[in-house]
Symmetry: C2
Subunit: 220 residues, 2 copies
């Protein structure tokens, strides 16, 4: 049985590998987990003993297939709990991360499977991230960053690249939420800002900080 701390390391390894590739460096892990590099080295050695990562001194760590399976299970739990908190308890999408961070560590063989059924097998969480199924498989969706659209393109908002609550709250204020349909009215090359039409009735200017962190699915 894994401790909460071990589980958090697996999840961090998984997340960093997705963004920066393998092997994952000690310092990147220390940053992600807000801990010291020395602590990371200790824990990586422990995960190596348990055969959840491959590791050689000074060469970084890579999840083994068992480590990857466990990390995916954690992601599944995290995202299903987020769905529950938003769908059933009425939390905002900017409020659920820290709670899910705790709930994902509840030990049970079937709790999350029952939760998934109760939620009617959602495939994406409140931030538009895909939810792995019981076997670790998740739906892949064609998507691109809003900043890569051109004038005249129409698209639907399907996800976000940042998850901090300030960013999410700001998107909420702008009425930019998952499922929104929008059209690019104009792109200003100078600062990469965009004028967009959020269907049906909002027209607004958004900075590139926003457009670089919103995933959309372009209508063909």
């Amino acid at each position: 049985m894994l401790s909460t701390s071990e589980e958090n390391y697996l999840k961090a390894l998984y997340k960093i590998a997705q963004v920066k590739g393998n092997p994952v460096s000690t310092n990147d892990l220390a940053d992600e987990l807000s801990t010291s590099a020395a602590s990371v080295t200790d824990m990586i050695k422990k995960l190596f003993e348990k055969k959840l990562v491959d590791y050689q001194r000074y060469q970084g760590a890579v999840l083994t297939s068992e480590g990857g399976r466990l990390a995916t299970e954690l992601v599944r739990r995290h995202r299903l709990w987020e769905c529950f908190l938003v769908e059933k308890l009425g939390y905002g999408w900017d409020e659920v991360h820290d709670l899910a961070e705790q709930l994902e560590h509840i030990k049970s063989v079937d709790l999350v499977d029952r939760l998934e059924e109760y939620l009617q097998f959602p495939r994406f969480d409140p931030h538009g991230d895909p939810i792995p199924d019981r076997h670790g498989k998740f739906t892949i969706r064609s998507q691109q960053l809003l900043c890569n659209l051109s004038q005249g393109d129409r698209a639907e908002v399907v996800g976000v690249a940042l998850h901090d609550s300030q960013f999410l709250r700001f998107l909420g204020e702008m009425h930019l939420e998952i499922g929104c349909v929008l059209e690019v009215l104009e792109v200003f090359e100078y600062d990469s800002s965009m004028r967009i039409h959020i269907v049906p009735d909002t027209k607004t200017l958004i900075s590139s900080i926003l457009s670089k962190n919103i995933y959309v699915k372009k209508y063909s």
Copy 2:
């Protein structure tokens, strides 16, 4: 902020005090928490430092009013999570204790209040135990043990005195569940067993081990 372990000690203190009264002895706590008396002494000293228990060497421990408030809050969380697991996720009443034992420690100012609202403010948990409200108040119900009824008495099952899963599963098999209406057909003085009629269509003999651990509300 309290650790999971500190919270479990507060809950144990509360539970033992209800059954055996104050002060609560070191050994009773060690039994309840399946730990050593030495560990209990250490923790009691820590709770004393935090002003959550009154304590004098060799004289046992008593929850302070703040300690009692926190213990009641824990009981509230435990029972509301049990309701959720049974009502929403379809668990049996014999399966939810250990999960609630973990879920009760999730840290959040309003999670359990939202859960309570979502469950429509249940006043009793799946075992018939009362759920404290946000202010720590809970509904008191007139109840007595089934073994104290006499021939001809009619009553409704409202709770159980034991919570281990074997006992609960056995009650389930006997079709004795919260809300059942029953009538005492005959009492056998020799071994205190009873013949009862479980409305509408079951007539059965139950041992005193059962009748001593089932709470009923007698119809007047």
